[in-house]
């Protein structure tokens, strides 16, 4: 109750505040968002940019990741990332300018952080958000290893993962802001 009345008085304040300071001119807001603690934000924030900011503690190697892969990934992505029915994960390096490009994690993905981020948020498809941090780093290391990007015993962790240079790191041209076509 008291938080509600506080929110109500805040919203009045916000209304005045926004009307006075907005840059876009039309953005009057009832101000009904509630403040969130940094700790709570951290529980929500699962995105990992190329800098690696936000990577959790933990560590794993490809050798350790093989077991995770065989148990959790192989059924859809095939042995050693060969694919079917889900995406092929390995191979294709050097194929992109040819007649039959093969776009895999190894041949196409520009950042290793994206692999960790995606596996953590969405995989395994039937049981996402279920792997431990060590399992996540290990299976990430495994997929990098089957693409020849890192060695079998190189540990992936919050420090090493952002340092991995993917083969196609420089293969993308940003179209934003857009060129004229």
């Amino acid at each position: 109750m008291s938080t509600r009345s506080l929110a109500a008085s805040l919203s009045v304040l916000m209304l005045i505040g926004c009307a006075a300071t907005t840059q876009t001119g039309t953005s009057k807001s009832p101000g009904l968002g509630t403040p969130v603690s940094a700790a709570e934000v951290a529980r929500w924030d699962i995105s990992i940019p190329p800098s690696g900011a936000g990577l959790p503690p933990g560590s794993g190697t490809a050798r350790q990741g093989l077991q995770v892969y065989e148990q959790k990934c192989l059924a859809c992505h095939g042995a050693k990332g060969a694919g079917k029915p889900a995406d092929v994960l390995a191979g294709g390096t050097g194929s992109l300018a040819g007649k039959t490009p093969l776009r895999t994690v190894g041949s196409y993905w520009p950042y290793a952080t994206t692999l960790f981020d995606y596996v953590r948020r969405a995989m395994p498809i039937t049981n996402p958000l279920s792997l431990s941090n060590d399992e996540l780093y290990a299976v990430t290391a495994y997929v990098l290893n089957i693409n020849g990007v890192i060695g079998e015993d190189v540990a992936m962790n919050a420090q090493s993962l952002p340092q991995v240079k993917m083969p196609n790191r420089d293969g993308f041209v940003s179209d934003w802001p857009p060129r004229e076509r």
């Binding site: 916000m14 926004c18 907005t22 840059q23 876009t24 039309t26 953005s27 009057k28 807001s29 009832p30 101000g31 009904l32 968002g33 509630t34 403040p35 969130v36 940094a38 709570e40 934000v41 929500w44 924030d45 699962i46 995105s47 990992i48 940019p49 190329p50 859809c76 029915p85 889900a86 992109l96 300018a97 040819g98 007649k99 039959t100 490009p101 776009r103 994690v105 196409y108 993905w109 520009p110 950042y111 952080t113 994206t114 981020d117 995606y118 948020r121 969405a122 498809i125 039937t126 996402p128 958000l129 293969g171 993308f172 041209v173 940003s174 179209d175 934003w176 802001p177 857009p178 076509r181």
Partner: protein, 415 residues
């Protein structure tokens, strides 16, 4: 009981016919109610009210075209295409709106759902759905087109399926929601904020980076579709809507918006939704959907029963703004005629084009070509393909061709 009543009605009708035939209508004279032209449903009391309406059972065949690349392994991953061949006007019925899902449709309790706005802001804020519903709303009509729409028209051979199964990974609705900039202003964007990361609450936690310019321009946090609350398949209880941009960016089931200095380079803006070029590089962040049109009637897998007057009807749209003109050719592009437009005042919306056409019975090659208000013209297949690597499958806005044979059959052709 209904059956009894039906039997009795049939008995009475048969009796009336027998009597009428035998006695020249002496019992039921001309003009008698029993003799008036009327269908059976005109002689029986209608169905009672229903709380939520359904289409006629005679329209039950109008269904979305389902694409499930992983089969039963991930039955909710893939797409459902709007049956454009059966639809008219501009608005796609919510029940037939296209769907592109990465990990199925989540069942979200709106009381438990939250939207977090954080990152490079003065104060991170959490919004309940109840709070969002209390904000001033904006209503606009916009199409949503999957960036991979029409990729089936890049197959080696033209698919002989209805137009919706090729080009229906798009739809157009009236959307109502909160301008995204209102929520960003409330949180107080830091000067260093240049991008947003938008994330869904599906089990894929689908996420995309969005330039701040778009967020401050016409982005909506949508709560309503075609007058009612969003359908689960369209992001209930709250979704992002980025008018005219790749449908994938209009993140459904919106749970989080993070202001950042740089793009996050998520899986769906690096490994997917990037546009490969012939030299092996790829374009990244090609957000806007190009100017495009397609004839929906007549279209592939249809047949014209006889020569005569027909209306060529279809859809045109552009992510850059309004449609300025749609031209139609019936001779494979040798000559073009300007079609009439309906809804062309709406930017980033479907526009319906129409052209009356007398089919003489000769073979014909039907095409449409749209031009938008920026002067961009829908490209030919050849010109478009020359720009990209052979496996490019996004942003196919090329001219679509339907061949009409002398027997009236319409087939999909590459021209």
């Amino acid at each position: 009981m209904g059956e009894d009543r039906g039997n009795r009605r049939r008995f009475l009708a048969q009796s009336a016919a027998l009597v009428g035939g035998a006695a020249s209508g002496s019992l039921a004279p001309p003009g008698a109610a029993q003799e008036l032209a009327a269908q059976p449903w005109e002689r029986v009391y209608g169905a009672p009210f229903t709380g939520y309406g359904q289409p006629s059972r005679f329209e039950a065949s109008v269904q979305r075209h389902l694409v499930r690349p992983y089969g039963d392994l991930a039955p909710g991953s893939g797409a459902a295409f709007a049956p454009l061949e059966s639809l008219e006007g501009i608005i796609t019925p919510s029940s037939l709106h296209n769907i592109r899902n990465h990990s199925g449709t989540p069942e979200i309790d709106p009381k438990a759902h939250r939207l977090l706005v954080h990152g490079l802001v003065a104060k991170p804020l959490m919004f309940s759905v109840e709070a969002l519903l209390a904000y001033p709303m904006t209503t606009r009509t916009h199409f949503v087109e999957c960036s991979g729409n029409s990729s089936r028209a890049l197959a080696p051979q033209p698919a002989q399926v209805p137009v919706g199964a090729i080009h229906g990974n798009m739809s157009c609705s009236e959307w109502t929601g909160i301008p995204l900039r209102v929520l960003l202003d409330e949180a107080g964007l830091a000067p260093s904020a240049r991008w947003l990361l938008a994330e869904g609450a599906d089990s894929a936690h689908m996420s995309r980076s969005i330039p701040l310019e778009k967020a401050l321009d016409d982005a909506l946090v949508a709560l309503y579709q075609n007058g009612e609350r969003l359908r689960p398949e369209q992001g209930y209880p709250v979704r992002l809507l980025l008018p005219g941009w790749e449908g994938n960016m209009s993140v459904k089931w919106l749970r989080r918006i993070k202001a950042t200095a740089e793009p996050t380079h998520t899986k769906d803006e690096t490994s997917k939704y990037t546009d490969p070029l012939p030299d092996g590089r790829s374009l990244q962040f090609t957000f806007e959907m190009g100017v495009k049109s397609v004839i929906t009637r007549p279209s592939s897998a249809m047949a014209l029963p006889r020569p005569g007057l027909y209306e060529i009807s279809g859809l045109a749209w552009s992510g850059a703004g309004r449609i300025r003109q749609v031209e139609v050719s019936t001779d494979g592009g040798a000559t073009w005629t300007v079609a009439s437009l309906q809804g062309e005042e709406r930017p980033k919306s479907f526009v319906r084009f129409r052209l009356p056409w007398e089919w003489t019975g000769k073979s014909a090659l039907l095409q449409s070509r749209a031009t938008d208000e920026k002067g961009r013209v829908q490209p030919s297949r050849k010109d478009w393909a020359a720009r990209y690597a052979p496996d490019m499958r996004y942003h196919n806005n090329t001219i679509v061709s339907w061949a009409l044979a002398t027997d009236g059959k319409v087939t999909h052709v590459y021209a």
